[in-house]
């Protein structure tokens, strides 16, 4: 039996029916990684010892007849900015090259408690800054659907690992689209939960008011399972919220939901193939009797500017802790006499990559005296207006459908010299983070280069978007 392409549900079934053991499954995944990852480069590091000990534990629990949860023995990949105790966590940066996590991220701890198996840490743009995984300090990752193209980013390694069957599912993080865009580019399902629904404790912070841990999976059903496992209030993250995540799937409830189509997201400049695929998905949902309504989110066009002020501002503060003293040291102090200031300048200058430096400098600028009001304070006000657009729209509709990205996966190297062009690839995903909303990215079509469509939900209503997504997914399976 082919183990590698199983969903979480099918994996669980196979495990309980003793079609394979967790140990055998883990071996099968490492074999698959051995065969495929040389050309794809999804993983930065494999955590074999940990994986096999977790698998043995799952097998022992099953043998003893202990209650076995749905995630028992399920091989997962974890983005490298999420901490697994005792394992390296570099966030794909040289400045953390020698760092080993001192504790488990809360999401990781919850998955461990559920009996999951961690295969390894996946590649990403350095500190999650990028849209192509080309900003990793260690290597690039290729899109499994077309090796000349990027997998998207920053969770490109996680998306590629799921797409190439090198794990059952993966965790990623999403600050401006870093789960949804790579999911769209690689043809998998990506969920960015509501801000506060999943603890950020143990996620290496990029922009704290925007960051969110989420999932990359093969199906919407798997996204629901994994989301349920990691969601919940955590005393280690004061912004996490206690709410009952009702993600049980009820098709009869889904049919009552009304979907909004914001005209600002169906604009000129979006690739024809993308539009065609999105329209196909809309037609499909209409044929399932889903009701649609045209809506307007008038401040959409300001979201990119707003985001590229607020995010770098938070980045410049969060990354101040990487001083070349507490974590990895980049320059050799013995080689020359250096005072503390020189040490900072050199370590940070050499330890961070180009994009990270660009954002820290930009963030320092928008927060600096004389410019704070014109940029940072202004952006915070615009952020409020963007959120109010969504609030107003959600008075009329239950979910909003848009493209995930204006194009399909672009060629490796195509946008590396032009930061603004790279930033523009996130225009449809960024507003969601500014407003703190949940959003799901799922494949609109299955042939050719993948195209994703995005379902945006009301705060803490993951159930709605997961429900519509699953309804769409299951209709496709039947037809």
């Amino acid at each position: 039996m082919e183990i590698n392409n199983l969903t979480i549900g099918k994996f669980h079934e196979g495990l309980l029916k003793k079609q394979f053991s967790a140990f055998e499954a883990t071996e099968a995944f490492f074999n698959r990684i051995g065969e495929k990852d040389g050309e794809i480069g999804a993983y930065l590091r494999l955590t074999k010892d940990l994986a096999f000990s977790q698998a043995k534990k799952a097998d022992a629990d099953i043998a003893e007849g202990k209650k076995t949860g749905i995630l028992a023995g399920v091989p997962l990949a974890i983005k490298d900015n999420i901490l697994i105790e005792g394992e390296p966590a570099t966030a794909a940066s040289k400045i953390l090259a020698n760092y080993r996590a001192a504790y488990d991220a809360t999401a990781v701890k919850k998955l461990k408690d559920g009996g999951a198996v961690f295969l390894g840490k996946t590649n990403m743009d350095e500190f999650a800054m990028g849209s192509s995984t080309e900003n990793s300090a260690f290597k690039i990752t290729k899109n499994p659907r077309d090796l000349e193209r990027v997998p998207g980013g920053s969770s490109g390694g996680s998306a590629a690992a799921v797409a190439a069957d090198m794990c059952v599912a993966a965790l990623g993080s999403d600050t401006g689209g870093s789960i949804r865009q790579p999911a769209g580019f690689c043809g998998v399902v990506g969920l960015k939960p509501t801000y506060g629904s999943v603890s950020r404790h143990g996620l290496i912070a990029m922009a704290s008011s925007l960051d969110q841990i989420g999932t990359l999976t093969k199906t919407v059903e798997d996204a629901s399972i994994l989301f349920k496992a990691i969601a919940g209030k955590d005393e280690m993250d004061a912004t996490s919220v206690n709410y009952q995540s009702q993600v049980d799937y009820r098709p009869e409830n889904v049919k009552k939901l009304k979907i909004g189509l914001p005209k600002e997201y169906f604009i000129e400049g979006t690739d024809k193939n993308v539009l065609a695929a999105i329209n196909g998905a809309i037609e499909n949902l209409k044929s399932l009797k889903m009701e649609f309504k045209e809506i307007s989110l008038p401040r959409t066009k300001y979201a990119l500017s707003c985001y590229y002020i607020i995010m770098p501002a938070e980045v410049s503060a969060n990354l101040a802790r990487f001083d070349g003293i507490r974590y990895s040291r980049i320059t050799n102090h013995e080689s020359r006499i250096m005072n503390l200031m020189d040490s900072y300048l050199k370590n940070r200058g050499e330890g961070f990559g180009k994009e990270v430096k660009r954002r820290i400098i930009l963030g320092t600028f928008v927060l600096s005296s004389g410019y704070y009001d014109a940029y940072y304070a202004k952006a915070q006000k615009v952020r409020r207006l963007i959120k109010e657009d969504f609030d107003r729209a959600f008075e009329d509709v239950d979910a909003i459908l848009t493209p995930v990205s204006p194009t399909t996966a672009f060629k490796i190297g195509e946008k590396t010299d032009d930061p603004l062009a790279m930033y523009l690839s996130d225009i449809f995903t960024i507003p969601v983070n500014l407003a703190g909303l949940p959003a799901l990215s799922l494949p609109a079509k299955t042939d050719g280069l993948p195209v994703g469509f995005q379902l945006i939900g009301k705060p803490f209503r993951e159930a709605d978007i997961l429900g519509i997504g699953r309804f769409f997914e299951e209709s496709g399976r039947k037809s």
Binding site: G196, L304, A320, I325, N339, R358, K381, P419, L420
Partner: protein, 103 residues
């Protein structure tokens, strides 16, 4: 309108951010930043009079916890100290803050 970042400002920002940019990379960085700031100009066209700034994504206010040490945190900080590149008696060792004047 003239862009607010010039070479002098960039030098100052490098100092503030504690990041040395190699001189051959400064020009490109400056151009990139100018282009990005030019893009931000569009924000001037949006009226934000009487709009309350939105500081974060959270819906929570005043989240408290008991102020007591936890073993879990102690273990984590011990592990962090273990990893300091240079340490002395459990303290982080850093280069001199001031110049050496005993020349």
């Amino acid at each position: 309108m003239p862009t607010p970042i010039d070479e002098k400002t960039l030098k100052r920002l490098e100092e503030l951010a504690r990041i040395e940019i190699k001189s051959d990379a400064e020009n490109k960085l400056l151009k990139d930043l100018q282009k990005i700031l030019e893009y931000f100009e569009e924000l001037k066209t949006i009226d934000t009079e009487n709009v309350e700034p939105m500081a974060g994504g959270t819906v929570e206010t005043n989240v408290f916890r008991e102020d007591k040490p936890s073993d879990k945190r102690q273990t984590a900080s011990d592990r962090l100290i273990e990893q300091f590149p240079e340490k002395e008696n459990g303290f982080l060792k850093v280069p001199a803050v001031f110049e050496n004047n005993n020349e």
